[in-house]
Symmetry: D2
Subunit: 379 residues, 4 copies
Amino acid sequence: MQKIRIGLIGYGGIGRVHAAAYRAIPFHYGLRADSIAIAGVATTRLETAKRAAQEIGCPYFTNDYRELIARDDIDVIDICTPNNAHHEIVMSAAEAGKHIYCEKPLAMNVAEAAGMAQAVRAAGVKAQVTFNFRFFPAVMRAKELVEAGFLGRVFSFRGRYHRSSYIDSDKPMSWRLQREITGGGALFDLGSHILDLLYYVLGEFDSVNGTLDTLIRERPAAKGSAEMARVDVDDIALLQARTADGTLGTVEISRMGTGAANDLTFEIFGQGGAIRFDLGDPAWLHVYDARDAEGPLGGERGFRQIEAVSRYDGQRAPDWTMTPDFMRSHAESQYQFIRSIWDDKAAAPSFDDGAHVQKIMAAAERSSEKGTWVRLADV
Amino acid sequence: MQKIRIGLIGYGGIGRVHAAAYRAIPFHYGLRADSIAIAGVATTRLETAKRAAQEIGCPYFTNDYRELIARDDIDVIDICTPNNAHHEIVMSAAEAGKHIYCEKPLAMNVAEAAGMAQAVRAAGVKAQVTFNFRFFPAVMRAKELVEAGFLGRVFSFRGRYHRSSYIDSDKPMSWRLQREITGGGALFDLGSHILDLLYYVLGEFDSVNGTLDTLIRERPAAKGSAEMARVDVDDIALLQARTADGTLGTVEISRMGTGAANDLTFEIFGQGGAIRFDLGDPAWLHVYDARDAEGPLGGERGFRQIEAVSRYDGQRAPDWTMTPDFMRSHAESQYQFIRSIWDDKAAAPSFDDGAHVQKIMAAAERSSEKGTWVRLADV
Amino acid sequence: MQKIRIGLIGYGGIGRVHAAAYRAIPFHYGLRADSIAIAGVATTRLETAKRAAQEIGCPYFTNDYRELIARDDIDVIDICTPNNAHHEIVMSAAEAGKHIYCEKPLAMNVAEAAGMAQAVRAAGVKAQVTFNFRFFPAVMRAKELVEAGFLGRVFSFRGRYHRSSYIDSDKPMSWRLQREITGGGALFDLGSHILDLLYYVLGEFDSVNGTLDTLIRERPAAKGSAEMARVDVDDIALLQARTADGTLGTVEISRMGTGAANDLTFEIFGQGGAIRFDLGDPAWLHVYDARDAEGPLGGERGFRQIEAVSRYDGQRAPDWTMTPDFMRSHAESQYQFIRSIWDDKAAAPSFDDGAHVQKIMAAAERSSEKGTWVRLADV
Amino acid sequence: MQKIRIGLIGYGGIGRVHAAAYRAIPFHYGLRADSIAIAGVATTRLETAKRAAQEIGCPYFTNDYRELIARDDIDVIDICTPNNAHHEIVMSAAEAGKHIYCEKPLAMNVAEAAGMAQAVRAAGVKAQVTFNFRFFPAVMRAKELVEAGFLGRVFSFRGRYHRSSYIDSDKPMSWRLQREITGGGALFDLGSHILDLLYYVLGEFDSVNGTLDTLIRERPAAKGSAEMARVDVDDIALLQARTADGTLGTVEISRMGTGAANDLTFEIFGQGGAIRFDLGDPAWLHVYDARDAEGPLGGERGFRQIEAVSRYDGQRAPDWTMTPDFMRSHAESQYQFIRSIWDDKAAAPSFDDGAHVQKIMAAAERSSEKGTWVRLADV
């Protein structure tokens, strides 16, 4: 089994999560400690890169990501930068023949995403988007159930990702509120996650009827500053959507969801049953079986919380009984990516998947501008 | 205090609820047993009218509602018929100078509703729509909080009313699935309730972006029949909506909400806090105060379930500690209507309120046909 | 079907509930309004009796309950007085050949309860204790499941009834805090309910290891008074108990359960599954089936909330979909009692059942005094 | 800052958790990767020790823990063995002047625990028991609130730790069911955790009234074996207990809690408020403030779920918004232990704390044998 040597680009909050998660993989899956290693780290400043290398315990650091990509002792490039750097790094890493693990959303727009998906395909490298929420056991279980036909005919769905990070109008401008850095607002940051989950479980989307709004249009340019800066991305995005199968649903995305810490949920309603996932209660998948009328309880139906903590492939203690969490989902996502290299199989979610989500988001934006439904085929 | 003598028209499930709730009022509010009485009942067949009168214990029954309206010993006409009879009965009762208590939705369409509101105004009678969910203490508390400015600037809202009554495609055709009797489908039957609650708490609506769908388009004409009948009303209605104040929100209405018994909820997000009501947990209003950062707990915020069982005016044991329920909300709704007669004050929710809800529903239907936003001013 | 004429003794909060619930029965079960009637009411003062009669709409009132019992037009005596009057009234009513419906706890002590059970047996009258919580559909469903062997071998149980009615030490003395009127404290008032539910579902108790405590030993003699009166009953009662079948469990009873409105719950754990009832969520019974490993979901187990709203015999709209409540449970309890008269079958819960609960409570008190386990056979 | 070199003894499930948690500390607290290292591992067989060393990435392994203790390049001995080895290892490590981090329960009995507490005190080494549940932010918040007097006078408490790991009677004998290896059953394994939490928050215990029971007394000697082995430890332990402050409460401990995954909860009721912690919902502490009658919501009280995810000292992303979990609590427990070395301050929970919990468990066992209350002073 080839030793996997990772070059990490970007070391903000999410870079740190990636680094910690890689380091936990051997314990979760019974691998040798040295089977996966972060071999180098790049940030924009040499000083932060050095500190990152010390924290990670890796031998190499640089403030020029190109140097990291150029190294022979790197197999995988892991991209944890702001969104506007993804495309450039991916194109460069693909050209260098590196496998690529890239944070979401994949790109700034549909064209970039399509180009990136094409580039990794052409280069023949493994490439995966960090849609880590797919790797909560309860979500994996939901996918299994839908694929097995448990829901029968699907009637409708609902998804939501609410956070409350920006309800304070004194909170100053940040890069997350600037279109030129992020490509989009709550729709991109939070929406990409919930839209990917719905796409993962329900299949491709056909069309979207979206309304986006910026609730606080000006914020202090810096903390305490009297100068105001304009927010040019959405704070809230409300979507109606239809899948390619014709299923109709609704999605709520907001970073002004007062009271929410991390309110990510989806529900799917079908003739045979219903499914609910709630990130706030991640040990369980909530499942309703409309056929239970004939069950051993003698004619009683109701939502059941089925345990979903023991579904990781090859997992070991203490995964069996403990609630899976954010960090654990990253470790599983990374592990599956690394397995795709070891086993030479397709990585998933792929850059094509990332590009599909990008299209949903673009359709939502265009729909909001036009005030009508927009088909993904038209963006 | 004038004795209130009621003439009840219609005695299906909801007629029975109205009858039982009137009879409970004296116990809840400490009135004489004879202060409120059902003096007569009308149904479409003499046989069912007779049985109704025996169950109610009222002296008079008829299969011609006009005779009931014509009687001198009737002060109030209570309308529990299917929707397509509301207009005719209201016009007749208003002309006869009777006070009117009418089940929801008020009418078959906007024109009917406007006519009925005009008629009761012209006749100078008290008229109230049975939006009984307004009378859950937690909803009343939500209204109080919003009016007191607790939410600060309102960011967005979400409402939902899901039932699962029609998920079985073998369930035969019924009057609730026929437009000529109901005027509309889930939107009218369930949607009128949740839309009224949002209107009650948030104020008038400005415009709607709705998508309606009929999920099961044909059903057996009768139980077990091979003949199929066409369903011409919606099973599901997804709305985006904006209030006159500019607040954006989403509403989900479905009678195919697999797993739901009576899933009626709303949430309102504001800069100062958030509010959640859930009919499945009706003893509490869930409230988040964004200002709690300064509170006695020393800097901790979180959703609080505030007790909302003791808010009825003049109420007595056992209302203080027991969870309010469907029947209790009807008794309060009726009591407030009767008080409007005794105290000669405006009844609420009025027929104008009912007509506003009718406009929201009409806008949703037209929006769904056109695929664009529709303003209430344009329906 | 004989018309049932009730004589109601006591018209405080619970008397009012009984009166209202009788009046709702015809609507729930499709009976003639005049099939059940309160024919007279007795309270300790003529003035309150008169007001009660007006509220109820009954022709007769008195301040001497013996006169009510003596009347020929009374079939049933319903006892809603404080506990210390139960014995005397029951003995008198039984002697007069009246059927008896008596609030809980049945008596002041074991000897009284035994005498009352003996008296009604000797008189051949129907007699039932108002353990209304037995008549929540979810509790009835729990009983069915246990009887059907769903739990397999029963491992253990837990019950709880918490209220917070007395946490304020400025709340003055009341009759509920005086042993000579109530016979006991939280154990009698709240404990009788939860102990009856456990006895109903699990069968007879064998022995108890209890600890009772009075947390606030002195209270103002009256509101605002400087004079203090001694509380001579328990505020809290913690029990370990063993059923005759050998099942071990624990019961928590407190009227100082800060934060609780009406926190009544029980859980039963067995080799085949588990059951949870929570009065705060009364539409559902929570059921875990350990055999679901083989079920249609392919090897997943979890608690299921099974709908338990449609279990009343002969019930009608709107019982099918609405959450059952306190008032509804009283109506069902009364209806089953009246059916025992109409059908000449045993009433349940009987006075023997009430006497068994009395023994559990007496064993708990004695156990607390002695600091050891006490068998019911020894009290 | 001294580099901390750990010698890990035992590498079953919990040993692996300890190893992974040490490795995550630098990411959570911003330390250099090499500031904490596992320098060696000992298990009972050379083969498993070698595999452990590979997984951990540590240079040294042995099947003789004495050799590990003897090494100069080890500062801390971390004990993850079965309970019956704790005493011997602690005595040896203390003698060698190593700091000691020992899994719970501390010892096989009170005498061992007292000896160990004395030994580490005499040796002047830092010593901490792995009561990791103390290090959930919500538990830390509960402790703060109680210490700040938030509850006012404490009325009563309740604790519970339920798992369902042994409900299957075909599950064979294991070391966890043998007294000579564990010292006790569910009481020791699960009970030590919940008893420590209650002790941590409420202070020392005075006396216990416990009932222990073994529900399945014989199990197959090995998987599928026809030979049966006797279980000589408890499956369930029900306790009434009084703290030194006189507060009365109840504790339920069971490994036969059908349906439970990891059901660890406690509740404390006081005159000023109430507190609830539930490991199944670990991001929140549930708090009721009886003084809220005067609060900004204008006279409404209710349980509040206060966010408790950001309470770790010096923590960094992503701790701010993600639900804390089992692994995270171990990392914090270890970090606080290591800080006690770096800052030369007392480690907590100390071996004295572990010895107090040992006394509570011993008192529960003796109480169960005698059928009376037992004071901790008497064990």
